[in-house]
Symmetry: C2
Subunit: 232 residues, 2 copies
DNA sequence: CGCGGCTTTGATGTTCATCAAGTAAAGTGG
DNA sequence: CCACTTTACTTGATGAACATCAAAGCCGCG
């Protein structure tokens, strides 16, 4: 799954891959690609700072990027995690001209970066392209809202179970994975303190649901995890 | 502000009013308006049931509509409240073909209802129209996410202060207003129990911040409310 | 090698949900 | 229109869930 910086130099494995760009004429495509560049972002690197002007359009080729924001309490909170093939931060890209969230790579990531003004220009004249965006945005909105909705209705055990299932099922498609974020960040994702994140991890370990070796997670009893996520 | 059913029979005071529809040609407009109808919905009436197929497009001319959803705990939760000039439920309209949320009038409401398929057809060919939607959706997403974000970082007093300020500033533009929802529904909006909603209301009354007469709310110390909303 | 951030566990206290019990208001059928 | 039923509203008491505080080990990094 991991892609080298050389591979993505070819547009065939990058931007073309998104079905959205199938609607573009060769001219439109070359126009957008004029100032396109592919970059490798190291784990932990800040990509976009909340409050900065929007002028780039980011497509996540590979890796993981967290969208986060500082609350009134001055604490960081994670809004969502962008996955490969996501347009990072798409949801609020058309609302005002500054970024609503910060974006930081939580795994080494490969991004395809184009001028947002170029995207906008093509959107203005190509309705098929714009309609694809409508769908993408709607799906993204649905996902974010649903996630926040589900998390807020669960107790701590339920939230941890939910987040583990999310990583295993949605992100890694594997019951063995390296948690890409710290315990603290898990807490920032699902509204709980670092201490309690750790405590519940330990509980799950003692209950035989989970094997933990540092960041390495191995889900041993997925059915139980599912039950906890639903009932909790 | 309240609009009679007769007034909205004229499109000039209804759908045309949205700047989005300025981008339409006369033909497109008449196509969309073919099956258009204006309806009056009584307070408390269910407009859309979560899970039903999407085939109508709703524009809220006047009134208030809550978007809500049943959680895994079998309790109702309010996602957001649509205000006049909103396209009700727009955010998830392009994600799948069934409604993700129920919609219920919380005040007597006047809706302009068109065929969603007609809207979709015009969107497919008119990129200006589609781009207007992108902006609308982005704003809506931003608002919902920001609201949930702010609420989840506040204690009970902060949440009640927030919801009161929201009604006063955003919805009624008045420090005197009739709360359109029950105490229970307030709780469903901001994740707290009915008892605690009432308790905090009482506290604010005793503190001289609020005057309460049944549903009638009168904010007496807005500055204090603001402080509580921020610090809480 | 020392410093800061991450991780872990335990003890303590606060916040909030739950339970209980009663009043008020609003809708319903005879 | 009145008795009846249901739903909304309110207050207090109790306990559970969770945040906070404290202390210590660990790891990576300059």
């Amino acid at each position: 799954m991991s892609i080298s910086i050389n591979e993505i130099k070819s547009c065939n494995t990058c931007i073309y891959k998104s079905y959205l760009f199938n609607h573009l004429s060769p001219e439109e495509l070359s126009y957008i690609n004029q100032n396109k560049k592919e970059v490798k972002i190291e784990k932990g690197e800040l990509i976009i700072q909340e409050g900065n002007p929007i002028n780039k359009f980011l497509y996540l080729v590979d890796g993981l990027v967290k969208l986060h924001k500082t609350g009134l309490d001055n604490k960081e909170h994670i809004i969502s995690i962008a996955r490969p093939r996501d347009f990072v931060g798409l949801l609020t890209l058309f609302s005002g001209d500054i970024h609503k969230y910060s974006m930081t790579a939580i795994e080494t990531s490969y991004l395809c970066i184009t001028d947002f003004s170029a995207i906008k220009k093509v959107l203005d004249s190509n309705s098929k392209f714009a309609n694809g965006f409508l769908e993408k945005m709607s799906n993204a909105a649905n996902l974010v809202i649903l996630n926040r909705f589900e998390i807020s209705n669960k107790n701590l055990r339920g939230r941890i179970a939910w987040v583990l299932l999310n990583f295993a099922n949605e992100i890694y498609q594997n019951d063995n994975f390296d948690l890409p974020i710290t315990r603290k960040e898990v807490g920032q994702m699902i509204d709980m303190t670092t201490e309690n994140v750790i405590r519940i991890f330990s509980e799950f370990r003692k209950d035989g649901i989970l094997e933990i070796t540092g960041r390495r997670m191995h889900i041993k009893d997925k059915e139980m995890l599912r039950k906890i996520a639903i009932s909790g």
